[in-house]
Structure formats: structure tokens, C-alpha cells
Amino acid sequence: MNKVFLLLAVMIALVIASCTNEPEQTVIPASKATVRFSALWEGQPFEMQQVYTDAFGNRLRADGFLNFISLITLVKDDGSEVLIKDYALVNFYNANEITAEVPAGKYTTLKFGIGVPRDRNKDQDPAQYPSSSVLSVAGSQGMFWVWNTGYIFAKFEGKCDTTGTDGAELLTPIAIHAGDDASYREFVSQSFSIDLTGISKTFDVKLNVDQIFSPVNGNDVNIALQAITHTSTNPDLATNFMDNYLAALTFVP
């Protein structure tokens, strides 16, 4: 009789044990990296449709500022690379954040491209991508010219007044559409040493927009002289814009 009850007890224990779905292992927190893009004007958050005065005395406002950021990558201390995101459309003014789980370990560098890399840019049909992709017709949000000219890497649109008249309406269009393979730029951060094992870490990338519209490195983007480029129509302005853009990025590890 006792054996029967012992058997019953074992069976009951088995029933209870078999109903438990929890894994019996120690939970190791995931290592996560977030890259946060934001834009500033003279140290303050850069806002759409707000009127700013640039280094040349031009009054301007942005109505849209959209950018392709590609191959966002963290480099480990052994030199291996971890891709955070392949392609992203970043508007900067909404403090875009891109997060990915990364392997545990020490990291030393963040790098990314501004634009779409050569092998995905020209002679590509965006129709090949589903609309969930930023490289697709709908997903690229107008950041595509035509097959042979490829994607627009950075699109800054707005209005300005370059007459120096206080209170004048902003009527002159700004349309800086930088693209083409020659406009691709690569940002590589300064070196750091951060162990991401089991932690979540945010890396801040800030674009100082005021520095784009200033004589940085002698590359003037003076909208009083020229405020429109579709790259092929004014390659110098596109080149200066992208050079200034790269120089205007700051990184806080």
C-alpha cells in the first residue's frame, strides 16, 4: 500500500514538474547599443520651420531635412565589426534612435556612411524592395531620383531671405539635394573603449547644422550665392554641403 502511495506521490511531482515552462538557467542581460542622431543649431535643438540666422547673415528655415545613413557599425577591440543597421532614413530633428543587440565585448569605434553605398546606389531599381525597406519606392520618401542617378543622400529643403531685411518673408527656396556616388561620406568616430557586456549603451551623434551653413574649412555653403542643387546641377554646392556635414558631426561615446 505504501509503495502505491509513494508511486502516486512521484507521479504528482512529475505532473507539476512537467507543467513548468520556465527555463532553469541564469539570465544574462543582453548587450545593446543605441545610436541616437540629433541636430543642433548653436548648441540648441534644431527645429523645423524655425527661422535661424547663419554665419553669413542669411535668415533661413528648414521645412525638411532627411538623410540616408548606411552601414552603422561598431568595431570591437579585436578589429571585428558588428553591423547595427544597414540602411536608415534619419531626419535628425526627431532624435532618431537605432538600437540593436550586439555581442558582448569591448568596442572601440563607431562608423557609418552618409548616403547609400555605391553598390546599392546607381542602376538599382527601388521597386525590388518591399515598402518596409527605406530603399523602396515608398519607403525612401522621395529620396530617389531615377535609375541612373540613384538615391538622394541628404535633402535639405526650406526657404530663406538673403536681403538682410528684418522681418522680410522667406521666399527664396533652398533645395540642397546631395547624392551621386561622389557625395558619399564616411564618418569614423574617435577611439573609445567601452565594454558593452550585459549593458545598454547610447551613443550620441550630433549634427551642428549651423556649422554646415558657415565657412567651415573654406567650403562655403552660402545660400545667398547658391541655395539649390540637385548635385548634377551644382556639384560644388553638393560637395561643400557634404564636406561641411561630415565636419559638423560630433560624437559623444
Binding site: 505532473v15 507543467c19 520651420q49 518591399p130 515598402s131 523602396s136 522621395g142 531615377v146 540637385h230
Partner: protein
């Protein structure tokens, strides 16, 4: 013996409790399944997004077609969607403003219906983001069908053809606004135009005439004055907004194309967002079937493609929201009469007569 029974019972329990969790059965009649609709995506077009809660089915599309042409959706049973979206005019209205059942007219032109499954903004001001949302409005708009959905649904329930069609499409005779909207949206997604000369040229089965070719080149070339040379670029610069990416011929985004300097008559997108800097901005439509869909612009102000050409060639009206693609402050496009002929010849290659005559889109009543 009794003990053995309990042991056996517990043994069974052990095995039963070890089975993996079964998924919950879906909350639909298990016997019902509509026939999947095989939507053929034309060459060079992107994949189409079909909402997960509204899969395309043969029965749903059929129901949607009947509803599209159903005059009982209007309060006095005199107008259907097809009353203002006429096939021979590219499913648009040749009148500047459509007249609703009360005789009242709106202030915007009925938009052409074509390839809507790839769009993501609907109405001229982009206030609807799905076809399922878009189709609901005309039924209750006082200057269109001037009905209530309750009344429209009652009319459908009283019509003997509809309960079985709803049952075939959705497995139930319960006729609801949601199901009606889904069916109409499904029908609209099947309205694909991809047999124009332009499509065939892209596919290599048609060769542009020299004039059409010249027009296409103008379409794809920058326009306005080149400040570096002091000479015009020589193009029409259509492609920035009406680009051929994915064969759409429209970016469906909101632009102010310089029709007006002031926007008191119709603020456009600003009426939706409340943002004055959206004033004068309207959805860029596809140019497909543009030859058939006169008059043009959101308010149908231009009767002919010549009028449209004259507008763009002028550069439009300067305003604080005019799109930078317009060449208003640069003196316009500097195109001539020959350029106009070429451009219009190209635009006419976007006409798809097989689309407008497709019996699958015609009035089934």
C-alpha cells in the same frame, strides 16, 4: 484495482500535460475560406502592401466591385462611386467639380483612380492613409453621397444580392461598414494599369517615336536657369515629383506646385495639419492616363495639357510654401513650343486603354 486506476489516470495526465501548448483556434468559422485572389504585379512595379486583416480574395474583390458601382450607397440611391469616377475618363470626372446628390458642388476635382494599391496618401490633402479609410468618406460627405453608413448598410441588407455576397467574401451575412470598406478597398487594389506604351517601352516591347523620346528626355531633365552658365538647363524637371521609380509616375507626397500665392480659397494640406507652412500643398497624383483625366490640378483649373504646360513653364506663383522644384523665382523652365509637343506626346504614352475598358472594373449591375 482501484489504486491501479488512479495510477493509470495520473500517468495519462503526465503525458497530456507534457504536450506543447496548442495555438488558440482562430476566431472565425472554421468551415469558411474565401478564394485567394492572385494579384499579378506587373514588371518593374514594387511589391504591393495588402493589409493583414484584409487579404485579397476573389469574393471580396467581386463584392467590392458591386459596391463601387452601387447607387444605394447614396442617400437617394442615385449615385455610386462610379458616378464621379468614370472609366472613359481614366476613372476621373470630366467636370471641374463633381456634383453631389443634393446638387451641391465641392471645391476639388475627383481624382483619377489608378494603381492605388501603391499609394499611401489618399484625397488631395492626404487625410486618409489607407484605402479602407478612404472609401468610407464619400458615402457620408454632404456634397457627395450625403448618406449615413447606417442607412447605406440598411439598403444593402434589404437587397437580396448582398447577404450572400458578404457571406461568400467574409463567411457571414452580417453586413457591416468595416466589411464593405474592406471589399471596396480590395477592388480598388486590383485596378492596376500597366499596359500603356510607356510600360511596353520599359519592357522593351515598344519603341518611342522620336517625339515621345524627346518628351521623355525633357521629363527626366533638370529645368530652369543654370546659374553657373546663365543658360537654361533645357529640361522640364517633371521627374522630381512624378518620377518613374516603381513605374508610379507620382511620389504621392505633398507639394505646393505654385498655383497660387495665397491660399484662402483652399489651404490644402494645412487644413488637415493646421500648419500654415502646409498651405497650398496637395498630393502629387500619378500621371498615368493623364490624357484622359482633364481637367487638371486639385481644383480642375486647367482644361488642357497645354494649360498645364504653360503653368509649369512659367514657374508658378512665388509664395512662402512653394516647392523648391518649381522654378518660380528663376523665371520658369524656358521651354518652347516644340518642347511642349514632345512633352505632351510623352505624357500620352501613359494612356492605357486596356485599363479603362477592362471588364473586371465595369459596372456589374
Amino acid at each position: 484495482m482501484k489504486q491501479l486506476f488512479w495510477i493509470a489516470l495520473l500517468g495519462i495526465l503526465v503525458f497530456v500535460s507534457c504536450k506543447p501548448n496548442e495555438p488558440e483556434p482562430p476566431d472565425i468559422p472554421s468551415a469558411f475560406s474565401a478564394t485567394p485572389y492572385d494579384l499579378v504585379i506587373p514588371p518593374l512595379f514594387p511589391p504591393i502592401d495588402i493589409p493583414a486583416d484584409n487579404p485579397l480574395t476573389v469574393e471580396g474583390v467581386r463584392l467590392g466591385r458591386y459596391l463601387f458601382w452601387e447607387k444605394k450607397l447614396s442617400a437617394d440611391a442615385t449615385q455610386s462611386c462610379g458616378s464621379c469616377h468614370l472609366p472613359q475618363f481614366g476613372f476621373a470626372d470630366p467636370s471641374r467639380f463633381s456634383t453631389g446628390i443634393t446638387g451641391e458642388q465641392g471645391s476639388r476635382q475627383a481624382m483619377a483612380l489608378v494603381n492605388l494599391g501603391w499609394a499611401y496618401n489618399y484625397f488631395w490633402d492626404g487625410r486618409a492613409h489607407t484605402l479602407e479609410d478612404q472609401v468610407i468618406e464619400p458615402v457620408v460627405n454632404p456634397i457627395e453621397m450625403n448618406n449615413t453608413w447606417e442607412s447605406a448598410l440598411a439598403a444593402l441588407r434589404a437587397d437580396p444580392i448582398y447577404p450572400p455576397m458578404f457571406k461568400a467574401a467574409y463567411g457571414t451575412t452580417d453586413i457591416t461598414q468595416d466589411k464593405a470598406a474592406k471589399a471596396m478597398a480590395s477592388f480598388l487594389r486590383t485596378m492596376i494599369s500597366a499596359e500603356s506604351k510607356f510600360d511596353h517601352e520599359r519592357a522593351g516591347t515598344y519603341t518611342f517615336t522620336p517625339l515621345e523620346e524627346a518628351g521623355f528626355n525633357l521629363f527626366l531633365t533638370e529645368g530652369g536657369m543654370n546659374p553657373n552658365t546663365g543658360s537654361p538647363w533645357g529640361g522640364a524637371d517633371c521627374f522630381h515629383c512624378h518620377g518613374p521609380a516603381g513605374m508610379q509616375m507620382g511620389d504621392y507626397l505633398m507639394h505646393n506646385n505654385g498655383l497660387d500665392a495665397h491660399f484662402s480659397a483652399d489651404p490644402g494640406r494645412a487644413a488637415v495639419t493646421g500648419n500654415p507652412l502646409d498651405s497650398g500643398r496637395f498630393k502629387t497624383p500619378s500621371l498615368r492616363n493623364i490624357e484622359l483625366t482633364a481637367p487638371y490640378m486639385h481644383d480642375g483649373r486647367f482644361q488642357t495639357l497645354h494649360d498645364v504646360f504653360v503653368h509649369y513653364n512659367s514657374g508658378g506663383e512665388v509664395s512662402t510654401t512653394i516647392d523648391p522644384f518649381m522654378e518660380a523665382s528663376g523665371g520658369g523652365l524656358y521651354l518652347n513650343d516644340v518642347d511642349e509637343l514632345a512633352l505632351i506626346a510623352f505624357l500620352k504614352t501613359l494612356t492605357d486603354t486596356s485599363f479603362i475598358h477592362n471588364p473586371a472594373f465595369s459596372n456589374p449591375h
